[in-house]
Symmetry: C2
Subunit: 200 residues, 2 copies
């Protein structure tokens, strides 16, 4: 990560990584197929974590709530402590097209694993696809906001806020209500203990 940040992903060789880490190249390749995979090392664990979250979610939750609870679980158990790491990683990925593509593939396979996990809970095929795709879309937007954010908002909080905004957006509102702020079309939103403050 240090080398990628210092001199760019393309200009860093496996030999240099191995040297910085005090390993042989041979050992490097025992752990990673190539230097790109260093940045995607956690993907499998993340997917298992999310699928586990879907499996363990209470049966009373609606599909999108199952997905969001799994995402919030991963935010707390996976990302929250590693914001600086996530920031550096995101900056490296943003600077390289090949890495962006790899990241898209990761997100697409997360969506597909989440949709399968929903189907195993008895969620109909189409609903499972839509809930998983919508969930990954909002995760993508929330994650970027968390990484860009200078404030102290937790990723879990931003994900929950993004769900409310996604609801408002798909319902056809002009703009999502910021957390706790006035809502333009309150009738469009699901009644929620979190929302009101209709001071507008």
């Amino acid at each position: 990560m240090e080398l990628y940040a210092e001199r760019g992903f393309d200009s860093t060789s496996v030999a240099e990584i191995a040297e910085r880490a005090g390993l042989t190249e041979r050992t490097f390749f025992r752990h990673f197929a190539d230097k790109r995979e260093v940045l995607f090392y956690g993907s499998k664990a993340l997917q298992e974590f999310l699928v586990g979250g879907v499996e363990d979610a209470p049966q009373s939750l609606a599909p999108i709530e199952v997905i969001v609870s799994a995402l919030v679980g991963a935010a707390t158990g996976f990302f929250e402590e590693r914001r600086e790491f996530a920031r550096r990683r995101q900056a490296i990925i943003a600077a390289n097209t090949e890495l962006q593509e790899r990241e898209l593939i990761k997100l697409a396979s997360l969506a597909s694993a989440l949709a399968s996990a929903l189907r195993k809970r008895g969620v109909p095929d189409q609903t499972a696809s839509l809930a998983a795709e919508a969930g990954i879309s909002l995760f993508k937007v929330a994650f970027q906001r968390w990484v860009d954010d200078d404030g102290e908002s937790s990723l879990a909080h931003i994900i929950e806020q993004s769900l409310r905004e996604m609801r408002a957006v798909t319902a056809g509102q002009r703009r999502p209500a910021p957390a706790g702020a006035a809502q333009r079309h309150p009738g469009h939103l699901r009644p929620s203990s979190r929302s009101p403050n209709r001071s507008e």
Copy 2:
């Protein structure tokens, strides 16, 4: 397309494509960077079409409605006449990981172009991202359904239906109501002339 369908994408060479089309390889490469790009030839035109649809949409529409009207416009003006082509193309892509990755990149850049076009209409940053991502998610699901569908439903119709389902899913319904059918939690949804029939 014939060659890709007959013998698979990987086993087809540019020389063979050029021969089948009665062209020289040189002419092929004047039009396409590589054999993959043959399948993504329409991407640029599609993106321009969609962005044009966003620019031309009435100011009265909410962001998600702008996106969906652009998608419906593309469905009618771009895809409807080419269902057999779309089917064959989708089958070729589904059989090849590299092509699936390229398709993901295409969809991600469509989402990003649509979000920019919304921002130019004055839609706030975050709303624009969420509406564009949600729109592309539902397009992905709708397109696959259209390609798989044996029936006579138009892509435009399936897109509009998928928007209603996406609304129901993000609102936290257990399963989306099929067009005109009973809703489990009617209170979660935006009141709409399309919804009721609360016979459950």
